[in-house]
Symmetry: C2
Subunit: 343 residues, 2 copies
């Protein structure tokens, strides 16, 4: 694994131009969002800084979220920009504890883009929406000049309904809560990376891209006391944990040995100098649940799910990883990014 | 004015690649949306083909809409991409008869984009949101490689609440309904065009970009029987009328003499071979209202508003324009587009 402390320091706070790393899900992106965007728009729903905003409309709690998708290449083993565009937004809603209801789709198409390729992407979106149980109800199409895009960018926004009694937020986590992970890490990033760099591994690494509505609803419907949920996209597991620890001002401890990473993914990460803790996933999430509910929650999440750690008694906001050989290290956010445009 | 029948026919139905004109708001865009996108996603809310989808959630009717903004240049007299991004979505909600509530913002930024310019755009968005009375509650930031964007693209999606008793739809228009227009046509397109082509007119033509929440709410709050609303963006007044006539299967008649176009805009249009009927606006809309309410509605809309026509007794779906010299001509949709990337 890469020791993140060895990375070059990047002057992320006072950059005069936007850099690729500002989109990487790490500390630079956070500085852009917290330094430039959020102060201008400040309001309670935005300031909650969740995966989505929670709005109360005529007594109903709705989650509302958006994501743009700029993945390159558009097609990869296990999915394409269309499946990502649906699952990414559906998953952000699920992470608010919301049942996804409606999705909007905005297309920015580069002049000259193949109509057949567009049809394939749209067909993937339709299939992903069916699987996730949402409808694409409104949309927009823009075309930009050749050389001013990269084939196709898609934005989706989504609305979901939060059931009574469900309350998901980083600030809800409590000492001793179990931290559960629903499966192995790193496959989405490595699938994209292998394709982009023309790398061949012994096996094809397929993206883990998947909708997370069913596992989340299974937990909530079973009455599991779910405190917080977060999907592990840009910035990976490490950034998600640090964000939650910081927001909740709670120390977290995780055990490296408990974190599932496939052998081929681990090998590829070592060759490429990537750390699976920081790689983006598209079908993985962590759930903070009451300790008494952990075993039942793991059974509901199925094979591949693991308890990877727990919330400590101490306030603070640090994440400590115990390595396989027993050494403890502080987990930090990614500074820039490991790999641009994976979603 | 350009006689649209003299334009070259464009093979819009069987194009193998996406062309700029597929984003122009005219017949080609319609063929892309109706031929490629809507069949794949088909559902009642989408098939209504309104400016936004209307969803019923726990008994509340919500409007949900999205738009991406790719305008070039980013800054123009009367506004910038930020004001457009807020007003565009706020206006689509207003056209559903909804009071805008929450907006999402997705940024696709080209590597190397100036951080100061980004701050200016965000500050414009914040100001426009305050003016329209909405909050920007959630967002997303992606950065793409240099040469794969055009500085900045913004997507916004919005949620609004529709009051009880409000029912806005093309199919609601009735014979004798008055067609009202809230102001002069063509300024947004001409402001962009002048800047892009380095043209100078005697006066500076400023975009009409504005939020339409207040005029629409004024009509609804006063109990005006509003049947249908439509803002006159890509494709302009002509396309909006043809779309409504087609959806409602009603013939419409409008009088050219009643359509306000500023002298400088008319002159610039003549020089550039543009037809103000087809140029995009960002603060103009048409309202179909019960004939008995027309005078009161015009008073509420204020100076500059005009009755431009009415719904005929005959079914059919044709729009007829009576010219200033008394000749009648059929108004058609734009085939391609007059001017790309004006929003």
């Amino acid at each position: 694994m890469v020791d993140m402390t060895l990375q070059c320091p990047v002057p992320f706070t006072h950059s005069e131009t936007v850099m690729l790393a500002h989109g990487g899900g790490g500390r630079m992106m956070r500085s852009l969002i917290e330094g430039v965007i959020m102060p201008a728009f400040s309001n309670p729903a935005l300031d909650a800084a969740h995966d989505g905003a929670v709005l109360t409309i005529n007594g109903s709690r709705l989650a509302f979220t958006t994501d743009s998708f700029v993945v390159q290449p558009l097609f990869f083993p296990g999915g394409d920009i269309g499946t990502l565009a649906i699952n990414g937004t559906v998953n952000d809603l699920a992470m608010c504890g919301a049942r996804p209801l409606a999705i909007s789709a905005g297309f920015i198409i580069e002049e000259g883009f193949s109509m057949d390729t567009l049809r394939r992407v749209i067909s993937s979106m339709a299939a992903a929406a069916r699987e996730a149980g949402v409808q694409i109800v409104t949309g927009d199409t823009k075309v930009v000049d050749q050389g001013k895009g990269d084939g196709l960018y898609i934005n989706t926004a989504g609305i979901g309904v939060i059931a009574d009694g469900v309350d998901i937020a980083p600030t809800n986590i409590r000492p001793k809560d179990a931290i559960l992970l629903n499966g192995d890490l790193g496959r989405h990033s490595l699938a994209i990376m292998a394709l982009r760099e023309g790398l061949r591994f012994e096996s094809t690494i397929e993206s883990d891209c998947a909708p997370l509505v069913k596992p989340v609803m299974a937990l909530l419907d079973a009455g599991i006391r779910v405190r917080c949920l977060r999907d592990l996209t840009r910035g990976g597991l490490a950034s998600a944990l640090v964000e939650i620890a910081t927001a909740a001002r709670r120390d977290l401890q995780i055990a490296e040995a408990a974190i599932p990473v496939r052998e081929d993914v681990r090998g590829a990460c070592e060759i490429l100098g990537l750390d699976p803790l920081y790689t983006a996933n598209e079908g993985r999430f962590i759930a903070f649940v009451a300790p008494e509910d952990a075993a039942r929650a793991l059974a509901l999440l199925g094979a591949g799910a693991q308890q990877i750690g727990s919330v400590l008694e101490t306030p603070g906001g640090q994440v400590t990883l115990t390595s396989v050989i027993g050494a403890a290290r502080i987990v930090d956010m990614l500074s820039g990014e490991q790999l641009p445009r994976i979603c």
